[in-house]
Every structure is written in C-alpha cells, then in structure tokens.
C-alpha cells in the first residue's frame, strides 16, 4: 500500500524542490529501488498490452456466452465434418466413375479394333493362306469365287482380300465383268489372289475338300489353284466405314 500522506514537516522543502534535487542527484538508494520497480511495472504493462492486443475477443465474456460460443463452434465443426464426408463420398464416386469410364473406353476401343478388322476399316495382319487362282480360260466367275469366299468364311476367316486391292466385307458384292469379275466396283481380272487371315490349316482344308473350291476351279473351269499357308499374311486395303442410312439400332434394349 502507499505511504500515509498526512505527515507534513513545516520547514521542509516543497515537493517541487525535492523533485528537482532528485533529478540532479540520481544515484541515491531510493532512486535505484524505484528504478527497479518501475522497470518491473513498465515490463509488466507492456507485456499485458501486447497480450491484450493479441486476442481480446473472448476476454470479459461471461461463462454462458463462452459456452454458447463453444457450442456453436462445435456444431460448425460438425457441419464442416459432414461436408468433408460428403465431399469425400463425391470424390470416391467420381473416381470410381472415372475408373469405370476408363474401362468402358478401353473396352470400346478393343471392340472398335475387332469390329474394324471385321468391317474392313482397319488393315490386318496375321497367319492365314494366300490362294492363287490361275484361270487361263476365263471360266472362273462370280459363282466360283463366291463359293470360295463362303468356304473361307465358313472356315473362320477373319479378313479377306482379293488381288491385294479389294477388301471383302459384309456388304461386298460380286458380279461378272467383261473380263473377269467386278467386286465392289473394282474390275478384277485373273489370275486372282485371295488373302485370308485365319487358322492356316483350317482354311487350306476348306479349300481342298472334294467338290470344294479347288475341285470346282480345276474340274469345271480348267484353272489351277495354289494354296500357300503363311504365318504372316498382310491385308493392307481398307474400305471406308459404311454409314447405315436406313437401319437404326433398336434403342430400348
């Protein structure tokens, strides 16, 4: 506590004179003590001021307010957690979506490749046979060639090409031309070469059986047929993808 204040010595110097004297004579014991204590006060107040400016939002709030604040904070964090969970779920859904979409794209691409080979829009290579038909008398016509191609198809040929220039696909037509045949608008003349990709032995067998293609060509048309099996038949010709003009896929399936 502060000192009592009533004491007054009558002839004593005034307070102002005392202050001036103290300023002139600084190294008294009392002054040093006061300096130390004042340093403590200055230090403490500065610390408090700094602590106060740091955060004074919740100082002086009553307990009820603080509890309410805490409750609202925890409910806010609850909401945030819910949101996080929801977003994570969305992310997982999207991720699996992407995965399945990627798988679907992969599947579609494989299917497109397979169908492209079957439809003749993609060049193909693989094991198969190369059939050379010599027809000096020009008697090998539409029927014979068609039979041969059908036999090849029956034996599982996946891609067929005639004379290295015409791809045989589902829409292919064959008709008799002036000299030779017309396949898909291309005038072809003998000798014909038919490349077919499939199991080479099976394809060769399909040509060779009695009454089959070879028989037909050699006995009826007096031609000659050479079947060579190969592990590397290349079919380079393609045809543009056919756009269905009238047929539409049935959608509700």
């Amino acid at each position: 506590m502060s000192e009592p204040t009533s004491n007054q010595e009558s002839p004593a110097p005034t307070g102002r004179a005392r202050l001036l004297a103290a300023l002139r004579r600084p190294w008294s014991r009392g002054q040093v003590t006061a300096a130390v204590l004042l340093a403590v006060v200055g230090f403490g107040s500065i610390v408090q001021v700094r602590a106060n400016t740091e955060d004074d939002r919740y100082v002086g709030m009553r307990q009820g307010d603080l509890i309410q604040l805490l409750n609202s904070l925890s409910s806010a964090s609850q909401r945030a957690e819910n949101e996080i969970a929801k977003l994570q779920q969305t992310r997982n859904t999207l991720r699996s979506d992407t995965d399945s979409r990627r798988a679907a794209v992969e599947r579609a691409r494989q299917q497109a490749t397979t169908l492209g080979i079957l439809a003749g829009t993609l060049p193909a290579t693989g094991p198969g046979v190369r059939i050379t038909v010599q027809d000096p008398s020009g008697k090998v016509g539409t029927d014979t060639l068609l039979n041969g191609i059908e036999e090849l198809r029956d034996a599982g040929a996946e891609a067929i090409e005639v004379n290295d220039s015409v791809r045989v696909v589902a829409q292919t037509y064959i008709k008799d031309g002036l000299r030779g045949v017309i396949i898909d608008g291309h005038q072809l003349s003998p000798p014909y070469t038919i490349d077919a990709i499939g199991a080479p032995h099976t394809l060769a067998q399909a040509m060779a059986f009695t009454g089959g293609f070879i028989d037909e060509v050699e006995n009826i048309a007096n031609g000659r047929v050479l079947v060579s099996q190969s592990q590397n038949i290349e079919i380079a010709s393609v045809r543009p993808p056919a756009q269905a003009e009238y047929a539409h896929p049935v959608t509700n399936q």
Partner: protein
Amino acid sequence: MIAGLGLLIGIVLGLLLQPQVPLWMEPYLPIAVVAALDAVFGALRAFLDGIFDDKVFVVSFVSNVLIAALIVYLGDKLGVGGQLATGVIVVLGIRIFSNVAAIRRHIFHA
C-alpha cells in the same frame, strides 16, 4: 532520473523480448499492473511529501500486487472473478486519482 530510466528500460525490454504470458498468469497480470501503478503513484506522492522510504515502497509494491492477484484468484474460485476484478480496478483507480491529485497539487500548487 534513474527511476525514469528504469521505467524506460522495462518498456524497451518488454518490447524487445515479447514474452508470452503464461496461461495461469493471464487473469492476474492486468490487475497486478494496475496495483503496481497504484503503488508507484503512492510512492511518488510520498516522495513529494518528503516521507518517501524505499523499503516501504518495495513492501507496498509487492503486497499491492500480491493482494490484487489474491483477490482475483479468490473471486475466480468463488465464481465472481469478473465482478471482483472490476471492484479492485475501481478501488485502485480511485486511489490513483487521489494520489495523482496530491502530486499535481505539489508540482503545480493547484
């Protein structure tokens, strides 16, 4: 003069060190600072009255701070910490005002 220098040193130290107030000390520091201010003004008044005694100053300073902190602590325990702190501040404020008035009379004779 040395006293003023001490105050300055304390302020500079506080600014430079930027100490973190410990959590247990947080409610008591403001009250302690005000109590210490009261002791300082009381001491200045006593000095002007010619009855300054450094021993008394030290004792009053320390006891002021301790009692203020103790009252707030007790108030916290009793559940009236805020109100009691306000009461302490009011009382110390009144004392500071009266001390400053006496000091003013000494210095300005008014």
